[in-house]
């Protein structure tokens, strides 16, 4: 039993008292966090053909919505250059052709993008936050709170989305893109809340959750630190799909002319092409219809692909394979770096 040893000596040998031989600077920690939450998922996404393509598509739209609007001139009416085909004039404005009143389609598409992105972002954040909060509280608390919240959720989920949106758009007449995004997801959160609750129910009695509860951590800490990370895959997937449904609904409502608009939207351009039946009657001016159609479809396609690929990021088996590959690479690097005093990340990976 080691009775002859002094207590101090014993303490030194205890693994609980040993100290790390070097301190991690703030920079190192950021590096690891960044590596784990940004670089690694991006690498997994990039290794999947769907993820690569989706990432490129979505990044392209974000670039058009931020840098593109500065480079590309604002759309303006020009009676001379009506109904130009794509590439007919060597001008950036008419790269994608022009519409019936001579507005270039490229400026029209580009300048509608920022508003669209704002709508998607606001809608996805609002819809998902509400869904996660309701689902978490309902599933974790249980009892009467659960019953009441789920009854409300079921009622909201049973209202058909589009008719409800029509009425809300008519009553509120929203113009602010953020507000539009919120209105369009006023019903979408219910599905997520149900899904989250179903995932939380079994998690409530898992050992590590029970342990932190026993340790006296507050409910919000337990939910944020122990439960929420397990729900991340579902939330990320729903983030993409909510953003997609915001595009579907907003372009649809703009197409119908049921949302008040101040500047052109993809749906408005689509509608103006649809209203001109002489345009529809010939293939010559098909670009007026196809450009907005493709603009919408490419973005939704990009989001779908990204959502599919995110499945890989969260799929532990794929992650493990990626980690293994990364470890192999790191070992090689460590062997060469250690003599030069290179910092190994393994020191605080636990």
């Amino acid at each position: 039993m080691g009775t002859g040893e002094s207590p101090a000596e014993k303490d030194d040998e205890s693994p609980f008292r040993s100290q790390s031989d070097y301190d991690a600077t703030a920079m190192d920690i950021y590096e690891v966090v960044f590596g784990r939450w940004v670089v690694a998922p991006l690498r997994v996404l990039w290794s999947d053909y769907r993820g690569r393509f989706g990432l490129l598509l979505v990044t392209f739209y974000v670039l058009v919505g931020t840098v593109g609007v500065v480079v590309i001139p604002e759309p303006s009416v020009d009676p001379i250059n009506r109904l130009l085909s794509p590439l007919e004039q060597p001008d950036l404005r008419y790269l994608l052709g022009s519409d019936g009143v001579g507005r270039g389609l490229l400026p029209l598409m580009a300048h509608a993008t920022p508003k669209m992105l704002k709508m998607m972002l606001a809608g996805a954040i609002f819809g998902n936050t509400l869904g996660v909060v309701v689902g978490l509280v309902s599933g974790y608390t249980g009892g009467n709170t659960d019953k009441i919240l789920m009854t409300v959720t079921d009622v909201v989920a049973s209202i058909p989305a589009l008719p409800l949106l029509l009425i809300l758009a008519a009553i509120i007449e929203p113009r602010n893109p953020y507000l539009i995004g919120v209105i369009l997801t006023v019903q979408a959160w219910a599905g997520l809340a149900r899904g989250i609750r179903a995932q939380v129910l079994p998690l409530r009695n898992v050992e590590y959750v029970e342990a932190s509860r026993t340790m006296g951590q507050s409910t919000s800490t337990v939910l944020m630190k122990q439960v929420l990370p397990d729900l991340l895959p579902l939330v990320t997937l729903r983030f993409m799909s909510t953003a997609r449904s915001v595009i579907f609904a907003s372009v649809g409502l703009y197409f119908l002319g049921l949302l008040p608009y101040t500047s052109a939207n993809w749906g408005v351009v689509l509608n103006s092409a649809y209203e001109n039946s002489n345009i529809l009657a010939s293939f010559e001016n098909a670009h007026w219809l196809l450009v907005p159609a493709l603009t919408i479809a490419m973005l939704t396609f990009g989001l779908t692909l990204l959502a599919q690929a995110f499945d890989q990021v969260f799929n532990p088996r794929v992650r493990a394979r990626h980690e293994a590959r990364k470890a192999d690479v790191e070992e090689d690097i460590d062997e060469t770096d250690i003599e030069e005093g290179g910092v190994s990340q393994l020191g605080f990976q636990q």
Partner: protein
Amino acid sequence: MGYLRNRLLQAVITLYSIITLGFVFIRMMPGSPSAYLRAEIQQNPGAYGLPPNPTLEQINDVMQTQMNYTPGPIWEKYISYMQGAVQGDFGTSVIVDPGASNVQLILEAAPWTIFISSAGLVYGLVAGIVLGSLMAYYEGSKMDVGLTVSMLAASSVPYYIVAILLLFLFSYNLEWFPTGGRFNTNTTPGFNYPFIAGVFNHAALPILSGITIGFGGNALSLRANSIRLLGEEHIRNAELRGLSTYTISTRYLARNAILPMYTGIVLGLAGLIGGSIILEEIFVYRGMGKLMYDATVQRDFPLMTTSLIFTTVIFVAGTLIADFTYSLIDPRAEQSSMG
């Protein structure tokens, strides 16, 4: 039977809430409908039983009756509204078809919408199941990858864009199908060949666009279900027992793979009926969706809210039927809900 009783209770709560919400919406309507109605009466007094150049008082009289204005505190109005709702009376249309019963208007339009929606749903399901099982069978092959990508693309293109492109291609340029309407106006409605052929001819493109709402997603989920099942023990066991491939694929695989899609069918139908608002406007198809669109554009709030309530009723009824019949299809569900 506790589960079914709860579901029934839930349905009653949902219907009560949506009808109350309808009341709130009608109360919340901005000033525009009355302004719209006033302009309508001034433009066309004859339609409201007034002489040309009516006086302000005459207009106000008509407006009071048209807008269903009943004096009294708000709770009295709520009670009379609920009484009417229980008896199936949701008031009258204000602008779209002044004086006509909302329920009557919707019931006249509903069969057309249910016709194109259910046809779109059934074809979408069949196409999804066939393609999904093909993809699962040839998993990992070039065909699987190609089909998966095309299904992803199909499910990410909004259905109304498909509708416009179909209209552009098949109606305006190839002239195979009419550009709008519900039936051939030269035929006499009834049970005769030219009329029925016209109905199907006019419905073809709306149905085709409706198929695209669900079929990509159906195919992908069936593929995922089947692949997950293929790895399971009972399939292996069936193979070891020497059962034929046909028996395994139909009785062991297809049944279980289609099962999770069953409750999604109702959701699909609700999506189609909601989507009909845009589709019917594109194809000028006078169904429930077109009615809802007209009501929204003209700010006919009573008709709008009644349409919303009506679609919710269809959805709730559909969900109930799916829940009640699920145990017939999957005996395991009954056991778990009983226990």
